[in-house]
């Protein structure tokens, strides 16, 4: 069971080589297949995730949630997707059409790119990048540009306000986000995510780096634009923020990308702080899925409990609380590492 997917991949390449293909070509085709599989999994996963969020938020509010289509209403999202696909595609006449149209595509591409480095099991990732963590952070921050494109291209005050807010928010939260991960990097001495997972065979980093975990969780919520930091969207204030003018599938792409980001960030959190794919009895790829979903459930729980924070409080919270705390955490980690070396523990 453990090496199920790896064996499948090897069998696939072996089959292609036996057909008479150049090994380099076979390797490229395998990469393509991996990509397609990743995208399929993302899409199917999102459909389940949207259903899950609706269902769980309903339970928090003593409602039933979707329950009409299929068992427990699981096909509700499929029906919604079909509805969105068949809706009229409206592009506002005053919009900057090129930017308006490319923004959602850009957003989803950036979101999918995050999956390339996440280890989905032992020796299971699309690319084993030695700067995986850096790649994740830098690509993750690109989604800011997509939101700014959407806000500017829509040529609408609400959209622009939402976009400006989201840029301000994401730039501010980028810093504590990166700083909180630095503590982990200092301990492991590597940016490779597989190394980070391997370093957690005794202690998960949530035990060694609890402050970093909390700051990362808060910063990631802001980075994901999820409640209570859903400032760019802010239905009640900005009537949808950067997405105000989008309809149909373009809007759905934003929605899809947000959930894609959510899964990616949760998976990273599971990888960096919760021991990644490590765990007893079950195969490694099942462990990462379980951990990711546990993190996602906490995200849901937080979103459906808290009110939205105010813009100026949000900024001051980042610069006055999160950045100093995460910097302090780096100091503490450094001191701890030297203390360990001095004592000869590591």
């Amino acid at each position: 069971m453990e090496a199920l997917f790896i064996n499948l991949a090897e069998a696939f390449t072996g089959w292609m080589i036996r057909l008479g293909l150049n090994p380099a070509w076979a390797e490229s085709i395998l990469l393509l297949v991996k990509w397609i599989i990743v995208i399929t999994i993302i899409t199917v996963n999102i459909i389940i995730l949207i259903w899950l969020e609706r269902k769980i938020s309903a339970f928090f509010q003593e409602r039933l949630g979707p329950n009409r289509l299929g068992p427990f209403g699981i096909f509700q999202t499929v029906a919604d997707a079909i509805k969105l696909l068949t809706k009229e595609d409206i592009v506002p006449s005053a919009a900057d059409k090129l930017i308006f149209k490319t923004a959602p595509m850009f957003f989803i591409v950036v979101a999918v790119m995050l999956y390339t480095v996440i280890p989905m099991g032992k020796d299971m990732e699309v690319i084993n990048l030695n700067i995986g963590l850096l790649f994740f952070i830098s690509v993750g921050s690109l989604s800011t540009i997509a939101l700014l494109m959407a806000g500017w291209g829509s040529n609408n005050k609400w959209s622009l306000m939402g976009a400006v807010r989201s840029v301000a928010q994401m730039v501010s939260y980028e810093i504590p986000l990166a700083f909180s991960l630095l503590g982990v990097v200092m301990i492991t001495g590597s940016l490779n995510l597989q190394d980070i997972v391997a370093a957690q065979d005794k202690w998960w980093f949530i035990v060694l780096q609890p402050i970093a975990f909390i700051t990362y969780f808060i910063a990631a919520t802001a980075e994901l634009n999820r409640g209570p930091f859903d400032m760019p969207e802010a239905e009640q204030e900005l009537t949808g923020g950067a997405y105000t003018e989008y309809t149909g599938m373009r809007w759905a792409l934003f929605f899809l990308a947000e959930y894609t980001n959510l899964v990616a960030v949760s998976a990273l959190m599971a990888t960096v702080f919760l021991g990644g794919w490590q765990g007893p009895w079950l195969p490694s790829w099942l462990w990462i899925i379980i951990k990711t979903y546990a993190v996602i459930l906490v995200f849901f729980w937080v979103k459906w409990t808290f009110p939205r924070i105010r813009m100026d409080h949000l900024m001051s919270f980042s610069w006055k609380v999160l950045v100093p705390v995460s910097l302090g955490n780096i100091l503490l980690t450094g001191a701890g590492i030297y203390f360990c070396r001095w004592m000869g523990w590591c």
């Binding site: 309903a58 928090f60 509010q61 003593e62 409990t305």
Partner: protein, 233 residues
């Protein structure tokens, strides 16, 4: 400490997560409605006496009906009764006013329809109702009845003229003048009582005539300096 409120909030939502859902399963399970619930307004044709109280009570002109003077019984005959639901605001004033309880609200609350015309409900006179009613009332009795009504009206007029006349006239001054007249003169009272039963419009005309005459008299008297004190008509 900061953050306590956040954790308390999380605790509350978590507690509700495991509680039973309270959603009503509406189309599958019909809701339990209170006995007084006002759903759809219904009408029972047989009970209606075409008195028009419901139409007068209705604030929104929802109700209307057509009548015809029956040839045999000289009684008002209801031909059709219509309820225009799109204007109804379910205030219950028509039901409360109805003397025979022929209007009532049932518990059917699914009133939507595809066409605007379908919202309007028209009740037509059921067949076979004519014979049933005709056999009940006979013409001679009808005339007797009218005589009796005139006598009753005359008595009422003499006993409490203000109240009876308020049905006919508007304006306190006019009513007072006419009621004084009636109490002093039998003949006037008899005439007004008869007309009030037989033809209300004519009664109104005659009453106005009496009042104007009286007013002129009074004005004359005032001009004369209050010489003549008696009412002579």
């Amino acid at each position: 400490m900061k953050g306590q409120g956040l954790i308390k909030g999380l605790g509350i939502t978590l507690k509700h997560f495991f509680q039973k859902e309270i959603t009503e399963q509406y189309p599958d399970v019909m809701p339990e409605l209170a006995p007084r619930f006002r759903g759809c307004l219904r009408f029972q044709f047989e009970k209606c006496i075409a008195c028009g109280i419901c139409v007068n009570n209705c604030p929104n002109d929802v109700l209307s009906f057509e009548t015809e003077k029956s040839d045999k019984s000289k009684k008002k005959k209801l031909l059709s009764y219509s309820i225009d639901f799109q204007y109804c605001m379910f205030c219950n004033l028509c039901v409360e006013g109805c003397p025979t309880n022929c209007l009532y609200f049932d518990h059917d609350f699914e009133l939507s329809s595809f066409e605007r015309e379908d919202i309007k409900m028209i009740y037509l006179r059921p067949e076979g109702l004519d014979e049933a009613e005709d056999s009940q009332a006979e013409p001679e009795e009808q005339e007797d009845k009218e005589q009796k009504q005139i006598e009753a009206m005359l008595k009422a007029l003499q006993k409490n003229p203000q109240k009876v006349l308020s049905r006919l006239l508007e304006g306190e001054e006019d009513i007072n003048i006419l009621s004084e007249l009636i109490q002093s003169d039998q003949k006037t009272a008899g005439k007004i009582a008869e007309l009030m039963i037989k033809d209300k419009e004519k009664a109104l005309k005659v009453a106005r005539g009496f009042i104007n005459k009286e007013k002129k008299n009074r004005a004359q008297q005032e001009m004369d300096g209050g010489k003549g004190g008696d009412n002579d008509v």
